[in-house]
């Protein structure tokens, strides 16, 4: 062995010794939603480092993304192509938009505060044990002073999030859970310092610190449970901005859409999603408008027709004149519709806020009463103050602070494992309120992929599939797929030629054959989605299609209806199509041919609380207006960004599952609040009677926090 082995055990050595050094000049990020094991890490990293010009690649399995150091000429598309070829699902990320979240600064900050609070709590608790066991006079005084020396800086640093949040709430003249928390911590500290200065018996440094420690655990759990969801949401914002190909006298240029001006000409090749509004100046095509209008069937378009941002060019190359700057495009108008809808969404008061508004004044009133009562009875200011302060310390909503984050952490992580991403903090609570579920049609209830429905002879289908191979049109692709499932070999067709907006032609057995729309083949048009074949003898065959239902659609609708929820179908597609799908899945109420704005107002005007499930751009405003919103993972970025919940897996049966977990979660939250209240109901009389010692305070506080956390964990074990 002449190699410089870094590890004598496995003879592995640094990979960079084997490769010429590459000086990286840029950092790129790729999102890898599917990776899950050590094999994936090695596969992705090896695939990426094998690309010439890539200096290093590092996968982060927790965030499901890779960071690549590469030379300037490398573009993300190259990396993605290499990964896709190896079978890894990869998406581009915008490095600038990610930079802020990359290091999870907030999580590190919380963890540091937690570590310091934990260290201080341990030490002060040990010193307190000595005091509780009967240390007196000088020893007790010394232990108290050491405790103070540890506790004061530790609380000042670790409890700052609570102080900041309480101060913000008070400034806005609101009460939240952090107000009594901050107050209890400050009072416990102030009171203890005062007692130590006077040489008193009781100091509550341990109580102040353990409070801070337990509550920080709650905060950190809360942060972690939504970190996965939040980084997914950041990725949506970070997806690379759309680009367009501008036609200039010097040749085609790739430019960001923001750089396009009115009158610019752009080129759109098959498969591109248009990023601006414009008019076709040259070329014919079939436009997939499903995202904008909900129509499942592509529409033909030709010179002089208007095109809109969000539409996908399926066939033929277009030259489009820009008629609107990118920020006024149809797409961006929809975005402003979303903003309006979201502003109108009534501000939801969470369970924790409701509990806090009931709890805070009550506790403070009790403390004041205790002070007045004891001062009147004994005339001793110090005793009265002592008791009022212990009431506030013992009623500090430590368990209440944990009650809700602990439950939502357990519930969201359970849902995350089942492929449901909960993005909003209060989404689980809001899900329990709903009485109506509104579905979008194309892409939500259906796959958005046509499927052949009428009976066709094998020979005819084989010929149609042979022609269909020449086109990216979804109906052609559906014919090819159908031939494959029937184990047919597509007939060989020569001279395949695509006629954008019309169909495909070719020659078979020396005769012209055509597959295309009714007008092109001079034949009467049938209802619904259909295409026509003119065979070697000039005979016309008709193929009818339907949009196939998404996995679990009928089951999910049935489960929701058994739950007593109303189901509604809201679609931009034609009445006939919408009604047929509604009948197929068993939805009784259908609203079709609605515009995006109508969708939004329909939801806003409905009485009760609605859950909107949609995927298209035409749904985004409706998603924003609904009480809770969900979108499938295949939805457009804007829809997923607006939604509270994203379904990462295909099956719609996750919807009733999510609802049942949300209900369990709310039940546990309420139980936890009752548990915390019960503990207060026992502790307050003891405090009012003046029997509370630091030992009792510490026991009660830890005891209730542990009970509440254990209760939250029960969600994990229930199916």
């Amino acid at each position: 062995m002449t190699d410089t082995a870094a590890c004598p055990g496995c003879l592995a050595r640094p990979a960079d010794l084997a490769q010429p050094a590459v000086t990286p000049s840029q950092t790129l990020y790729v999102s890898l939603p599917q990776i899950h094991c050590a094999g994936c890490i090695a596969g992705v990293e090896n695939t990426l480092t094998a690309i010439p010009g890539v200096a290093s690649a590092r996968v982060n399995l927790t965030q499901r993304r890779a960071r690549i150091e590469a030379q300037g000429h490398i573009v993300t598309a190259t990396l993605i192509a290499a990964l896709t070829a190896k079978g890894y699902d990869a998406r581009a990320l915008n490095p600038e938009a990610l930079a802020a979240t990359q290091n999870d600064a907030a999580g590190r900050d919380l963890l540091l505060r937690l570590a310091i609070a934990g260290f201080a709590t341990m030490n002060v608790m040990l010193l307190s044990v000595a005091v509780w066991s009967g240390a007196t006079d000088a020893t007790r005084q010394m232990f108290h002073w050491i405790s103070a020396a540890i506790a004061v800086p530790a609380v000042a640093y670790a409890a700052r999030p609570f102080f900041a949040s309480a101060a913000a709430a008070l400034m806005a003249r609101r009460g939240n859970m952090d107000v009594p928390i901050a107050m209890a911590i400050l009072l416990a500290m102030g009171h203890s310092i005062y007692e130590v200065l006077l040489g008193g018996h009781h100091a509550y440094f341990d109580a102040a610190l353990s409070l801070t420690f337990f509550l920080l655990i709650g905060r950190y759990l809360d942060h972690c449970s939504r970190r996965a969801a939040r980084s997914a949401a950041d990725e949506l914002a970070a997806l690379e901005p759309p680009r367009a190909t501008r036609i200039t006298p010097k040749g085609d240029q790739q430019v960001a859409v923001d750089a396009l001006a009115i009158g610019d000409m752009i080129r759109a090749t098959p498969g591109t999603r248009l990023a601006i509004d414009g008019i076709i100046r040259r070329g014919r095509t079939d436009l997939d408008r499903a995202l904008l209008t909900g129509e499942a069937m592509p529409a033909p378009a030709t010179t002089g027709d208007a095109v809109h941002a969000g539409e996908i060019v399926l066939t033929g190359t277009l030259e489009v004149e820009v008629t609107q700057p990118a920020k006024h495009s149809t797409l961006n108008q929809l975005k402003s519709l979303v903003e309006v809808a979201e502003r109108a969404r009534s501000r939801y008061t969470s369970l924790a806020d409701k509990a806090a508004t009931a709890y805070v004044p009550l506790v403070h009133a009790l403390a004041v009463l205790a002070f007045i009562g004891w001062y009147a009875a004994t005339g001793d200011l110090r005793v009265a103050l002592n008791i009022a302060v212990t009431v506030l310390i013992i009623t500090c909503p430590c368990a209440m602070g944990l009650a809700i984050p602990a439950v939502s952490t357990v519930a969201t992580s359970k849902l995350f494992r089942a492929g449901v991403l909960v993005k909003s903090a209060t989404a689980l609570e809001r899900l329990c309120d709903i009485d109506t579920v509104i579905f979008d049609k194309t892409g939500t209830l259906t796959e958005g992929q046509p499927k052949l429905v009428n009976t066709v002879a094998d020979a005819v289908l084989a010929l149609a599939a042979g022609l269909g191979q020449g086109s990216a049109h979804p109906l052609s692709q559906a014919l090819v797929a159908e031939a494959k499932t029937r184990d047919l070999t597509p007939t060989t067709v020569d001279n395949l030629q695509e006629h954008p907006g019309q169909g495909v032609s070719g020659t078979s057995q020396g005769r012209t054959v055509k597959l295309g729309n009714a007008a092109w083949l001079n034949t009467p048009e049938a209802d619904g989605m259909a295409t026509y074949l003119s065979d070697t003898r000039g005979q016309i065959h008709h193929f009818a299609f339907t949009d196939s239902l998404r996995d679990g659609a009928a089951k999910a609708v049935a489960a929701l209806q058994t739950d007593g929820l109303k189901t509604v179908l809201l679609s931009g597609d034609r009445h006939a199509n919408a009604a047929r799908i509604a009948a197929e899945v068993g939805i009784p109420e259908t609203l079709a041919e609605v515009t995006p704005a109508q969708k939004s107002t329909t939801i806003a005007d409905r009485a009760g609380h609605t859950l909107m499930i949609g995927d298209g751009l035409n749904d985004t405003a409706a998603l924003g207006a609904a009480h809770v919103s969900m979108s499938p993972a295949a939805a457009v970025d804007a829809s997923r960004a607006v939604s509270d919940v994203v379904l990462m897996h295909g099956s719609l049966t996750r919807i009733p599952d999510t609802l049942s977990i949300a209900r369990q979660a709310r039940k546990r939250m309420q139980e936890n609040l009752w548990l915390a209240t019960a503990y207060n109901a026992i502790a307050i009389p003891i405090a009012l009677a003046g029997f509370v010692t630091p030992l009792i305070a510490a026991l009660a506080m830890s005891g209730s926090s542990i009970v509440v956390s254990l209760n939250a964990l029960r969600i994990r074990s229930t199916p």
Partner: protein, 52 residues
């Protein structure tokens, strides 16, 4: 009881050492990718410290 003069500082210093070690690990990015670290230990490839 004089032994306390030694024991209390000793316990505090040991605790503080633990705290410093934790802060160091946090700053070095050791909590950035816990899932990945758990998986990487099973691979045979040489693996340097995570980049910051």
């Amino acid at each position: 009881m004089n032994i306390l003069v030694i024991l209390i500082p000793a316990s505090l210093i040991l605790g503080a050492l633990g705290l410093i070690a934790f802060c160091w690990a946090l700053r070095k990015g050791q909590f950035q990718d816990p899932d990945g670290n758990a998986a990487r230990i099973l691979t045979k490839d040489h693996d340097d410290a995570p980049p910051l």
